[in-house]
Assembly symmetry: C2
Homo-oligomer: 338 residues x 2
Amino acid sequence: MQQVSIKDIARAANVSHPTVSRALSHSPLVKGETAERIRQIAVSMGYRPSAIARSLATKKTKTIGVVVTSIADPFIADVVSGIEETANDHGYSVFLANSNANPDREVKVVHSFHERRVDGIIVTASRVGALYVPLLSQLKVPIVLINNQHPDEPDQFIYSVMIDNLKASTQVMEHLIGLGHRRIAYIGDQAGFQSDTERFAGYRQGLAFADYPFLPELVVHGDGKPEGGRQAMERLLALPMPPTAVFCYNDMSALGALRTLYGHGINVPDDISIVGFDDLSIASFTSPLLTTVGQPKQQMGRMAMETMLKLISGVDSKANIKVEGELIIRESTAPPKS
Amino acid sequence: MQQVSIKDIARAANVSHPTVSRALSHSPLVKGETAERIRQIAVSMGYRPSAIARSLATKKTKTIGVVVTSIADPFIADVVSGIEETANDHGYSVFLANSNANPDREVKVVHSFHERRVDGIIVTASRVGALYVPLLSQLKVPIVLINNQHPDEPDQFIYSVMIDNLKASTQVMEHLIGLGHRRIAYIGDQAGFQSDTERFAGYRQGLAFADYPFLPELVVHGDGKPEGGRQAMERLLALPMPPTAVFCYNDMSALGALRTLYGHGINVPDDISIVGFDDLSIASFTSPLLTTVGQPKQQMGRMAMETMLKLISGVDSKANIKVEGELIIRESTAPPKS
DNA sequence: TTGTACGCGTTATCAA
DNA sequence: TTGATAACGCGTACAA
């Protein structure tokens, strides 16, 4: 008899298992005195309830599944950290699964979560969300998306937490324009990602507000990673008239851009200003420190989990939560040279 | 009847539940013909087995618990990614829990894993391992530690995967000395961490091999994070005779050191060479690119999980796996000036 | 206030 | 090759 069960305790305490069960869950139905005695015996026997058996009986597992495209992505890691913290505080455990943005794997992961009867599923930064959202809603468990890249499909079962990209990127443009920049470039992500689309819209809106012309040659695309940013920046430098400031889709791209400029001996921010997006922790340790848009990453995770808790308990919650970014001005932006 | 169970299938197929169970697990005991029919019905009814019920019956959950000090630590995130991948490939799901290096929380987490009856526990970079290792071994589930910071206590239940710090840091010293450096500083972590102790030992060994004197003033301590590295570097610069090369305990510290040097207008590597340790992805996007020691982070995660799988299946495994680091020479190291 | 009896959805052990 | 029946550890009506 490896694991001690309530029956063992019942035997030791000369009561029935239900009484033990009640005593341990602090039910008012059991006499305080005996309840106390039972609890002491439980502790002395090193009893730990089986969440498995409990789940089978209650039909609740107190677990939630978290799908990420990659846990090695620092942005996502922060979000997950917020989810996990809140979950743990409320007695929930989190299953973590990597999808690698691979549709087959995503389907597999969702099935696995289903079989484990998770009480809810949180998906972060799903790029192929559209593919399996229908699959998800079949499960009839609450689903919360964080920074969903396909917010177009309206589904009453889907809740989301995302940043207000438009507003934040408009602020970036105001900052740059306020410094006196006119030739401002945009290094985007691949086409079709909602966050890129929205940030780009902010870029154009900023230009429009200032009555500056939109110059298509100043818009190049990377891949959201340093390498793409590097190449995109090379293309901008090859222009007959390069920009004096560059607004990068995210910090990772900005890192690549910074790298290219360093390689060309171009000084940031004296020669060219750079702005990122995300405020990854590295942004505070580049040289120069990166001006960027901070997203409350951990908090977004917390909010997603709080939304989840409400949904699980049957309370309705705001379907689409928008959080605000914060422009963090550091060292990579300055007025243009002349 | 929300969830369809094997009983529902049994009814639909006019057989008994055990037969359904056997058919679905491809038992040879059931006639191929009926088995096929049962499986089709199962699919058409959208059946998904309940891992909960299965676990209760089999006493195996096919889950493992992963304790991390912080999932936002990029090193750990990579390791976890390796664990998760391997786990998933073998039908295991992973519970992720943050301990924040907080002993109370670690104990809570371990209890939670116990209650969920995980088949094994992997702990990464535990700094307070000593505190709850006894607690862990009580559970009688396999435990694998990754980069345990307290490998001193020999416990037959504990398995580990760690990097050969001594060897790697000796290589770092050989590289630096080979470039012609004589005044080489060491920026360490806080006292008591095994990896710091070992890397520091490599530092001294490297010095000894070259017959260079060990100069205590060239050893300063950070906190393993950029801020600590920054301050440590300031202290080194304040020396009457600053070093020409600095070996940093890890990349995060090196980032801080780089930052300080940038602030002082000191060129890396022309004026001072810098070496890190870990090869975090940022190391390939600093300016200049960081010379560092690569650790097979994902692979360490995979190896830990593979060890776990062996232990779970009763096969014994190597108790202490040491993996080798790899010196990656990039741009932050060069011969000293004169 | 406590005990009896049953159910949760599977697997396992028999016997048929 | 299949079907009864029990078992896993807990929660919960219902009865006492």
